[in-house]
Each structure stands twice: as structure tokens, then as C-alpha cells.
Amino acid sequence: MIEDELTRIWKSSPNQERVKFRKSRLMLELQSSLDRFHRAIRNRDLIETIAAIVVVPIFACCAFVIPYTLTKIASVLIGVWAVYVIVHLRKARSHKPGSFTTSYQEYLYKTRDYLIVQKKLLDTILYWYLLPGFILMLLFLGGFAGIPEKHDHLVRTAVGAFVLGVLVYYINRRAARKHIAPRLEKVNELISVVEQTSTFDA
């Protein structure tokens, strides 16, 4: 047997090894992508929580100091809404899969569920975040409606809040489309590879 023969035999790996690597590569790609995603979600939740912590005492003061009934009611409701936003975000985050679950397949299923929850959160942002926020802001401003010299300022603030709301809406829809949908696709791709392999083995 010539020496080159050793090299030839050495390199004659069965096909299954290549299939396995495809999985590994997908896994690594996915994990890197998910790590970035988890970091982004954590930062977003942190910012929202800090905002709520700031908002609640400020509007609690407003409820005390400002004499108009409508503004007082709106201030209390804004505080409640801020707390609701945190609870809602935390609830969505509670679906995050742990690093060590029973199996990788299980981990993928949980990751898929988590991404679906996060996507739904962004898709429905109009109903749980923007509309209540905007309505409460109008209500808050409505308290000052009895002061004619403030009307211009109130209209400008309301329009500003509306424009900001529209902007936030589109940013979130874009995030759902650009950041969550492709990751969901990756997870589904990996799930199908893992399921296919399990079927082969069975």
C-alpha cells in the first residue's frame, strides 16, 4: 500500500458527517443571531422600565398638583398604564428559553414560541401601547382645555404626540419584519433539519 493511499482513506468520510455539520453551522448562526436579539430585548425592556419608573412619580405629582379633574384622572391612569406596559413586557420575556433545557429540539421549540410572542407584541403595539398612551395623553391635555391661551400649545403637543406615535408604530412593525421574522425562519429551518434527522434515525 502506498503512502498516498493513507491520505485517500483518511479523507473518505461518510456523508452523514457533512449533514451533521450543516446542523452545527445552523446552530451557531442561530445562536449568534439569538444572542443579539436577546440583548436587544433586554435593553428595550430596561429602557421601558426606567421610563415607567420615571413616569409614575411624575404623573403622581401631577395628579396632586394640577387642579383639573380630567388631568388628575389621566395622570393616575398614565401611572397605571406605565405599570401595565412593564408587566406586559415582562410577561412576554418570561417565555425566553433557558440555556439548558431537556434537549436541543425542545430548546428550539421554546425559542420559536418566544419569537412568536415577541413578534405578536410588536404587531399589536398599537392596541396595548400606542392607543392607550395617546388617548391618555389627550385626556391629560383635555384638563387644560378651559384655558384659551394654552390652546395652541395643547394642539401642538397633541400633534407631536400623534406623529411620535406613528413613528413608533412603524419602527416596531419594521423591527418585527426585519429582526424577528428572519430569526423565526432560521429557527424553523433548524427545527426541520433536526426533525428530519430524528425521523431518519427512527
Partner: protein
């Protein structure tokens, strides 16, 4: 991990995946263990990517990590099992084989067994040589001189040829 680094990693891996896997195969007792070992290698390369300085080629650097991981892991089975609990769901796929392929696989199995009988240094050098790495690169990876590598390879190849042709 930075996007550029990730692309570099995936490209380098694409080029070297099979070579690294083959190196892992001589440090593992069975296909499951090989799979775990390979995963460990990939994760270590992945984690070390930010520290890659480009002093050697990326494939040389990857081989160095692969050998280090393989040597370290074979003495640390328990920790590795714990670490890979997460990918328990992975199973080895059995691809259908024709007669010629089966025969080839038998020979490959025998070669791997023969390599597994070698000591750590010989095993490392011969696997890199079988991957057709130049002596200079093998020398960089293992820290041995080029002459030493050349002599070692010659001896080990003789041993392997004897081992692979000997009847059971």
C-alpha cells in the same frame, strides 16, 4: 459577536469543517462522542475568534485549537457531557451505503483505530499530515521543529502501514 467576525468564522469553517471533523474522529471512541467533541471544538473556535490576530493562517489557528480541545477533552469526559446536555436531541443519521462505500468505511475505521493507538504527539502530527498540511504549518501548530515533524511523520506512516495491513 461582531458581524464581520461571524462571517470570517463561518467562511473559515466552511473551508475546514471536514478536516476538523476528521481530526476529531481519532480522539473520540464512538460517533456520538465525535459529535460532542466536534461541537466543543466549534464552540471553542467561536469563542476564541475575537482573539485571532492573523499571525498564522486561520486554518492553522483552527487546527491548533482543534488539537488542544481534543487533547483536553479526552481527559475531561464528565464536564463535556454536562456541557452538551443542551444538544441531546441530536442523533447520528444513518445514510445508506453501497458495497464499495462499506468497504471504504471499514478501511477508514481501521485507519482511525490504528491512529488512536498512537501516542498524543504522533497522533496530532499524523492527522495534520493526512490533512496534507505542509510541514511548516504542522510545526507551527505543534511547536515541534520542521525536521522533527518530518522524521516523526515518516516513522508514524510506516507504523500505520504495518498496522492497517496486518490481519486480525
Amino acid at each position: 459577536m461582531h458581524q464581520d467576525l461571524e462571517i470570517t468564522f463561518l467562511e473559515a469553517l466552511e473551508q475546514n469543517q471536514e478536516k476538523l471533523l476528521r481530526v476529531c474522529s481519532v480522539y473520540a471512541a464512538d460517533p456520538e462522542e465525535k459529535k460532542d467533541l466536534f461541537q466543543e471544538v466549534l464552540i471553542n473556535i467561536w469563542q476564541a475568534m475575537p482573539s485571532f490576530e492573523g499571525k498564522s493562517s486561520i486554518s492553522t489557528w483552527m487546527f491548533r485549537i482543534t488539537l488542544n480541545v481534543c487533547l483536553r477533552v479526552q481527559y475531561n469526559q464528565e464536564r463535556r457531557r454536562h456541557r452538551f446536555q443542551k444538544i441531546d436531541g441530536f442523533v447520528i443519521e444513518n445514510t445508506p451505503n453501497d458495497e464499495a462505500n462499506l468497504e471504504e468505511q471499514q478501511r477508514l475505521k481501521k485507519l482511525r483505530k490504528c491512529i488512536q493507538k498512537l501516542n498524543d504527539a504522533h497522533r496530532a502530527v499524523i492527522t495534520l499530515n493526512l490533512e496534507e498540511l505542509p510541514y511548516k504549518e504542522i510545526s507551527e501548530i505543534t511547536g515541534l521543529s520542521e525536521n522533527h515533524v518530518a522524521v516523526m511523520i515518516k516513522r508514524v506512516k510506516e507504523k500505520l502501514l504495518n498496522c492497517i495491513t496486518e490481519k486480525k
